[in-house]
Structures are given as C-alpha cells and as structure tokens.
C-alpha cells in the first residue's frame, strides 16, 4: 500500500479527521508499530519523538490534490513570542470517495483495527502520544530488558526529555494496553 493510501485509511479510521499534525505523525507511528510494517513511511527518532518526512510530504501532497482539507487554529502567543498553532486534517468529499474504494481491501481493515486499538486505549492526545512514543523509543532500545518508571525517567533525561512521573506511568499504561510494553 502506498503512503497516500495509508494516510487516507488512517484518517478515515480516525473518524475522518485528525486534529494536529503531531497527532497525525504519532498515530501513524503507532499504527505502523502495531502492524509491524512501515508502509514506506520510514520514521526517524528525534528529540521530539518519531517523525516521518514521508508523512509530512504525503500530507501536503494529499492536501494539494484536494483529498485532505487543512485548517489551522491559533492558541495565542507564548511569553517568548512563539505562536502556538494547530493544523488539523480532514478528508474532503473527494478524499472520502477514494477511501470508499480502499475500504474493501485487507490493508484498510488492518489499519482500521490498529487505529481503533489506539482509540480504545484512551484516545491519547498528541502530548500523551508523544510521551508514549518517547517511552516506547527508550524501552525498545533496551530490547525488552524491562525498566522501572524511575529508570525510564532517568534514561529520558539523557535525551533532554523531562517527563513527569505521572505522564510516564500513563504512557506505560497506554503502551501496555496496546501490547507494545508490559507494566510488570
């Protein structure tokens, strides 16, 4: 399945829209991890979490082609002058038409099932998914050796990630609920 089709399926399975490009990136990341297949998205690890240039470029391509609609909302300006703005993506009527043809494929069902597992695990927002992605990144590097929350926080500090213990606990619980980690 091509990255364009993957993203159309992911957004459709998410209810036809995804609020925020960070959420889009992280949800796409977890779906590919759950399915054990990257669909050509090639995620890189960064200090801000996993990121795929292909997801970014393909989203713009789908928007240019009229299959996605982008809208943005401003959330004010922080004290350092940084403007907080969120970009939301929704399928257009043409996008929905294309997804309609993909719905019968086995890939759509797999992507849809994986997306629903994430949504059923508490529908984490972009911040929670980002923390979960960072925790998952660290746990994966340890190759299943197991870590306590305290160890995970300490390891995160090496990456300049300051994650509060409560957030780490929630992230681990989320990962456990989708079988990407164990709480033991």
């Amino acid at each position: 399945m091509k990255p364009t089709d993957f993203l159309l399926c992911l957004i459709d399975a998410s209810g036809g829209a995804i609020p925020g490009r960070t959420l889009l990136q992280k949800r796409a990341f977890f779906v590919t991890e759950l399915l054990g297949e990257d669909f050509g998205l090639k995620f890189d690890a960064h200090y801000y979490g996993p990121f795929s240039s292909t997801v970014e470029g393909t989203t713009t391509q789908l928007k240019n082609l009229g299959f996605l609609q982008e809208s943005n909302t401003g959330f004010g300006i922080l004290s350092d002058g940084f403007e907080v703005r969120r970009y939301d993506y929704a399928l257009t009527e043409d996008g929905k038409f294309l997804v309609g043809r993909l719905r019968e494929t086995p890939e759509y069902k797999r992507i849809s099932d994986a997306t629903h597992r994430i949504l059923a695990a508490g529908d984490p927002n972009y911040m929670e998914l980002s923390i979960a992605a960072k925790a998952y990144f660290i746990l994966k590097k340890k190759e299943g050796k197991g870590m306590s929350v305290a160890e995970l926080i300490k390891e995160a500090e090496k990456y300049s990630w300051n994650i509060p213990p409560q957030s780490v606990k929630r992230a681990v619980a989320f990962l456990a609920s989708i079988d990407l980690a164990s709480e033991n």
């Binding site: 990255p3 050509g40 470029g57 713009t60 240019n64 350092d80 038409f97 090496k158 300049s160």
Partner: protein
C-alpha cells in the same frame, strides 16, 4: 594546516586547499568532473549555464570547510573535519554523462543487487562510494580507513549526525553551493541568500545520543531566505519548461539507444553491476564524449534524438495539467498519486491518435518526492527556552514547501508550430482535449460488454 594554495572561484572568491587536497583534486577521476555539466543541457535555455560538477564540487568543498570550522571546536574533531571536506569534494564522482537527467535510465538498467539494503539511495551515490573505495588513484592518496570513513560520512553510517548533515541533508554544503552557483551561471537572481550568515548561525545540538545540525534563532530569517532561494530556483530554473523537455529528451534518447537500437556499449555504460570493471570504464565518460559517440551512430534512434537536441529542434509541451484539471477524484489520484505504469499505453495511444512517432511522445510527472527531508525539522535554538522546529517557527516555510510540492503532468511531442497564434491555440486545445480523454479512459477502464465481446469473437 592550509598551505595557501588558492583557486579563484566566481562564487566564493578564493578557495583554499592544502597540498594533499590538491593531489586529490588533480587525480584523473576528479578532473573528469570538468566534463560533466552541472545542469546537463540547461545551457540551451540559459547560455551561461555551462558550469560543471568540477566547479560545484570545489565550491561545496569550500562551504563544507567553513561549516566544519565553525561547528567543530575540539582537537578531537580535527581528522573528522578533514574527512568531511573530502567527502563533500568527492560526493559527485558517481555522476555519469548528463547527470540527473540520465539517472532514471541508470537506475532502470542496473542490477537490483547494488541496491541491497540501500533502497533509498540514488544510484549515482552508490557509484560515488564504489569509486572512492576502488579507484586506484584515490587509493594512492587516501588510506583504506580514510576512504571507508569518507564513504561512511556520505552514507550516514560514520561520524556524528551533524557531520553527515553537512555532507547530505536539507541544508548541506551541496545545496548551499549549487543554489548560489546555478543562480550565478544561469544569470537569474533567485538563488541568492546570505551564506556567511547561515554558516555563522548554524549550531550543533545534542538530540539524545546524537549531535544534529540546528540553527540559532538569530539565523531564522537567513534559513527562510535559503528556503525561498530553493523554491525560486526550483520553480524558475530546475523546472523551467524547456529544461524539463531537454532532460526528458536525453533520457528517452538513451533509452532508445539501449532498448531499440541495441547499442551494446551504451547499455553497458548505464548498467551498474557493482563491479570494479564497470566503474573503471564509467569514469572515462563525460557529456561531450557521449554526445560525440552518439552522433556517430548513423541511422539510430538515439542519434536522431540527439541531433534534435544539438540543433535545438526541441519537443513541445502539448499537455500541462495539474490537479484542478481532473475534477473526478479517481482520475486525479491515478495521474498524480498512482504508479507510472500508464505512461506507456498513454504515449502509444497519443502517438496513434495524433500521428506522432511512438518513440517521440514522452509523459512526465513534475513532482517533488514526498519522502524528501526538508528544512522543516531543523531545530531552532532559543536563548532561554527549549528548541522548537523550523516548521513551527517560520511563517514562510509552509507556504514555500506547499508550492514546491505542487504537481504537474506533462506530455512532450515533436510538434511543428507556425506563427499563427490562433491556429496554434486551437491545435493545443485539440491535443489537450484528446489526451485528457485518453487519460480518463485509462484511469477508469470500462468493463467489457457482452455485445463488444461477441462482436470481437465474430471478427
């Protein structure tokens, strides 16, 4: 230590290199870059664009030197600094005649085994690495370890991430040079940005266990200027209508030479098999030699096409459509987001419908690879707060990135036009309508009807 050996360069003033670097520059394999035009046949559009990969490699080497000097402070980085300069100096060795224009042909005819584990790499990058590792002259001037490290820097498997990003990344030394150089030699002013300021505001940022290239908030607008330079150069020069046509004619000519004329040496030149024998022969070829050899292939299809190029009897763009021209979503997705398998039947049907030679109809999608890493994720460093991303900081980036990713679909053919504008417009409309109809038909094939089948059987 630089020995004050200077080369005068129209873009950077003086380029300094030490005696060891001079020995490498003086090798035959590096000097060959003088015979590869940086922009293939773009000089048919911009007469000044006759600069070569030799000048560009020296310029990129100069920029890399400035970057590593500004970014690496400790003595332990000294040998890496030298290797980064050399990696950038040698990065284009793997280009063949007509560079990027002929790259799809090289990719198509090369052995799939050369891509094993490197599916994302461009074929000329793999050949560059092979030349660096195996070329006898380079072996005399660089130790095995040095050559392996240089290849590692090019491939991103050796050294800090930021060093690889200087060699190959969204703001690498390659782009920093070619935007300025191509702008200068084409005579356009679009590629200009403040390179000195960009260099001085780039920083090394600790990203987990990696050290990556970042920009200080003071350099934000310089990076925006760089992004705009890339955008303008892409839309105005790299995607200039005539340049796209000449590039596609080169690619088609070589394909015809290999597949229809069955010219053995041409097939060998564009069939990388990962062997030393291939690269030994490959580095003897440049643009002029290939052009000259082809022009001696009397009666061949490849010569016919190169004669056209040489005499500037270029094909015309008979179809230029974008997503707005296909209101029906499945056709739009078929043309702009689907595979390119429909090009061949489309070309054949267009040739038949309008009476063109079937070898002379070329379909081409003008686009920007979605997987390309852009400047969007370059960390922007602030004085008192956490790093942000360029994508979030820059008011301009998103618009430029969106524009650069706009797609077009073109069809080129050997159309002779006269000066009657009205007649020309009518003819072009006729082509357009006819071709769009064929595309719609290919995108939405009608199921065979019983009546049609029965008729076919009785014939």
């Amino acid at each position: 230590m630089l020995d004050n050996l200077e080369i005068r360069d129209p873009i950077h003033g003086f380029i300094y290199r030490d005696s060891h670097e001079r020995e490498i520059i003086d090798t035959k394999v590096f000097q060959r870059l003088r015979s590869l035009h940086q922009l293939a046949l773009a000089y048919l559009v911009y007469p000044g664009a006759t600069h070569t990969r030799f000048d560009h490699s020296l310029g990129a080497f100069h920029i890399a030197g400035g970057l590593v000097h500004a970014l690496t402070q400790s003595d332990s980085d000294k040998s890496d600094r030298r290797l980064v300069r050399l990696a950038v100096l040698l990065h284009d060795l793997g280009h063949g005649p007509f560079g990027h224009a002929a790259e799809p042909i090289l990719k198509k005819h090369s052995s799939p085994t050369v891509f094993a584990g490197r599916e994302e790499s461009k074929i000329h990058e793999l050949i560059s690495e092979k030349i660096i590792l195996e070329n006898e002259e380079l072996k005399r001037h660089l130790s095995d370890t040095e050559r392996e490290k240089i290849v590692g820097l090019l491939a991103g498997t050796f050294g800090d991430t930021y060093l690889h990003e200087i060699v190959s990344g969204p703001i690498d030394a390659d782009k920093q040079d070619y935007l300025l150089r191509d702008s200068h030699f084409t005579g356009v002013k679009y590629g200009i940005y403040d390179q000195e300021r960009l260099r001085n505001t780039l920083r090394v940022h600790q990203d987990g266990e990696e050290r990556v290239l970042a920009i200080s908030i003071d350099g934000l607008h310089t990076l925006e200027q760089f992004v705009l330079a890339k955008y303008y150069m892409t839309t105005q020069v790299y995607r200039h209508r005539i340049r796209l046509i000449t590039d596609q004619m080169i690619a088609r000519a070589i394909s015809l030479g290999i597949e229809e004329d069955k010219i053995g040496w041409l097939r060998s030149l564009y069939s990388y098999d990962g062997t030393n024998e291939f690269v030994k022969e490959y580095v003897t070829w440049g643009d002029d030699r290939l052009m000259s050899e082809i022009l001696h292939q009397e009666g061949s299809l490849v010569k016919e096409m190169f004669d056209r190029l040489w005499e500037r009897r270029l094909f015309k763009c008979i179809l230029d459509v974008n997503e707005n021209d296909f209101p029906e979503p499945s056709t739009r997705a078929f043309v702009f987001a689907g595979s390119k398998e429909f090009y061949k039947p489309l070309q054949e049907r267009v040739a038949k419908k309008f009476g063109f030679n079937r070898h002379h109809v070329i379909a081409y999608r003008v686009d920007f690879e979605p997987a390309t890493k852009t400047e969007s994720q370059v960390p922007v460093l602030h004085k008192h707060t956490k790093p942000t991303l360029f994508n979030d900081e820059s008011a301009l980036f998103k618009s430029a990135d969106q524009k650069i990713r706009e797609q077009h679909f073109h069809l080129y053919a050997p159309v002779e036009t006269n000066d009657d504008e009205k007649q020309k417009r009518r003819k072009m409309r006729e082509y357009r309508d006819g071709i769009v109809e064929i595309i719609q038909d290919l995108a939405n094939p009608q199921p065979l009807q019983f009546g049609a089948e029965a008729k076919h059987e009785t014939n």
